[in-house]
Symmetry: C2
Subunit: 109 residues, 2 copies
């Protein structure tokens, strides 16, 4: 049918999948790394630094914003983006629990 059957999974599974999906693109990883590096908020210089069109960057920023990973405030003519600490912590917690559940045993296959 072509659309994910979210009804059959738990809220946690769907939430983690949604968050990871928002991170699962090199452009969005690059954008976030840029924000992480210049801890202070950055704006649309991304367009110059990454080699993507302005419309494309804006679209990726929107996706990160919709997922709650970043937040933005209007700063004069430009817009200032930064990490949303709550969601970032959520990702750390959820991913930590997920990845940490693996206990390596004697190889079975």
């Amino acid at each position: 049918m072509g659309l994910t059957r979210t009804e059959i999974f738990s809220a946690e599974q769907n939430q983690l999948a949604t968050l990871l999906k928002a991170l699962a693109h090199p452009a969005r990883i690059a954008i976030l790394q840029r924000i992480l590096a210049s801890n202070t908020c950055i704006c649309g210089d991304l367009v110059e630094e990454l080699g993507l069109a302005q419309a494309t960057i804006s679209q990726h920023l929107k996706e990160l914003k919709t997922a709650g990973i970043i937040q933005g405030t209007i700063e004069g003519v430009s817009v200032c983006y930064c990490i949303n600490p709550v969601t970032w912590k959520l990702i750390e917690t959820q991913m930590g629990a997920f990845l940490g559940a693996y206990i390596q045993e004697a190889d079975c296959c």
Copy 2:
């Protein structure tokens, strides 16, 4: 154009994005959690446990296998899947570095 422009990003950014993409689906998270829970290898009981068709499960398993996250060996009639420790560790390392790069400061926006 419709296809990710991987050439303009670093190998690390592309690799992390690819790994996260493989994890970014509730069915694949559920499959991995199932493998993590019953540490020993599990087979196609997934079809019964998750409410998805056999072809769909097989497809998700293939994606996880292609990404190197799981590995499978033929065990008589059925196939035995388990976590690939190397890739799992890689995800932990890469995600840890990525998420850990955030130092929360006085809110700027």
